[in-house]
Subunit: 215 residues, 2 copies
């Protein structure tokens, strides 16, 4: 089967916003967005990757968090998902938000115009790559060894790969929170319906899952 | 994490019936039930285990068929799921409904009072076991090597393990077809709500997913 490029568990506000514009070390999602609030639906599930206790719900939302690693062999992420720095890498102390055990467990390709050596934390290796989306995807596919590739975000990265028509499936979670300003994935999910099938599935938790797959 | 006992993709009619009572070689689900009709929701998905072409939907229903093998290390099934024969095994020609490539890919424990040697088809090994549900589950858990165990059905087997309070999660799919008579899983899903959380999720395909997990 073809190696798909998949967006998974990507969460936006009711007005389509995933992050603020003034990202800092203290506020990885930007000024007015608390990651815990936006991701509360996922944090409550049994398969939330960062869960350390045995609890958590096993309803609908859990099917999405448990699918996070399923048949994924690599991730591509934007530099702003990796960290708050901009421009050349001044030092190599920063190794991502995730501590010594990142939840990826595969090679991760971080998009950047600035070179930096690869490094490994536990079973995740971060590579720093430039080039156009098709080139980066080709490298990620090779590293994924037959499995699919996750497109991890943020918003700018997803839009760039959508513009290049490289995305095969998207799972976007819309939360009932309205944010007003920030980095916007869409004005409406209808924007994608020329190229994708769409199913809209309300969850008992209050979020609404949007499932897109290529026509 | 604990090894769960999970019912997955188990499909019943709107009146709770999963099989007719007069199962034969020609009608594996009993006299008035066409398996294709009951399972149409699953057959239409990209991850339907028997799919041979690259098509299929990737909406909500597909999350359930793709979860079929996820973290499953063994299956327990009733004898009537394995075949239409009753009583002692007269010969060992019958090796299940699934041909040379069964969709299980793990050890399978078939409940029977009658001894029969184990055999292997591709990466599935069938064992024939007696004993009470807790004993069978202990054997299946050992074979699953840390992974979960699927309880494959049919109705009588699921009810037996529910009566013994051994089931951790159930995913039951209710189709809009009404059957009237046959082997009934429940009169109403409410019967399980003293022991389980329940989320009821209508699918755009017309079926309704019922997700139970232990309180």
């Amino acid at each position: 089967m073809k190696q798909l490029l998949r967006v998974q568990n990507f969460t936006v506000s009711s007005d389509g916003i995933a992050a603020g514009e003034d990202q800092t070390l203290e506020r990885p999602f930007g000024h007015h967005i608390a990651p815990r609030e936006l991701m509360a639906w996922a944090v409550a599930t049994a398969h939330w990757p960062n869960r350390t206790d045995p609890g958590g719900g096993r309803g609908l939302d859990d099917y999405f968090t448990r699918d996070f690693t399923h048949n994924i062999g690599a991730e591509i992420m934007g530099r702003n998902k990796f960290g708050p720095q901009r421009g050349p890498w001044h030092d190599h102390q920063w190794r991502g938000w995730w501590g010594d055990e990142p939840p990826f467990h595969t090679p991760v390709f971080v998009l950047t115009h600035h070179t930096r050596p690869s490094f490994t934390l536990s079973d995740t290796t971060f590579h720093f790559v430039g080039g156009d989306p098709a080139d980066v995807l080709a490298r990620a596919r090779e590293a994924a060894q037959g499995k699919d590739v996750r497109l991890g975000g943020g918003v700018s990265t997803i839009r760039e790969f959508l513009d290049a028509d490289l995305v095969d499936t998207l799972h976007v979670v819309v939360t009932p929170v309205k944010l007003g300003s920030g980095l916007r994935l869409w004005d409406s999910p209808d924007e994608l319906m020329d190229r994708f099938h769409l199913e809209v599935v309300p969850s008992p938790s209050g979020v609404t899952h949007h499932l897109f797959w290529r026509k």
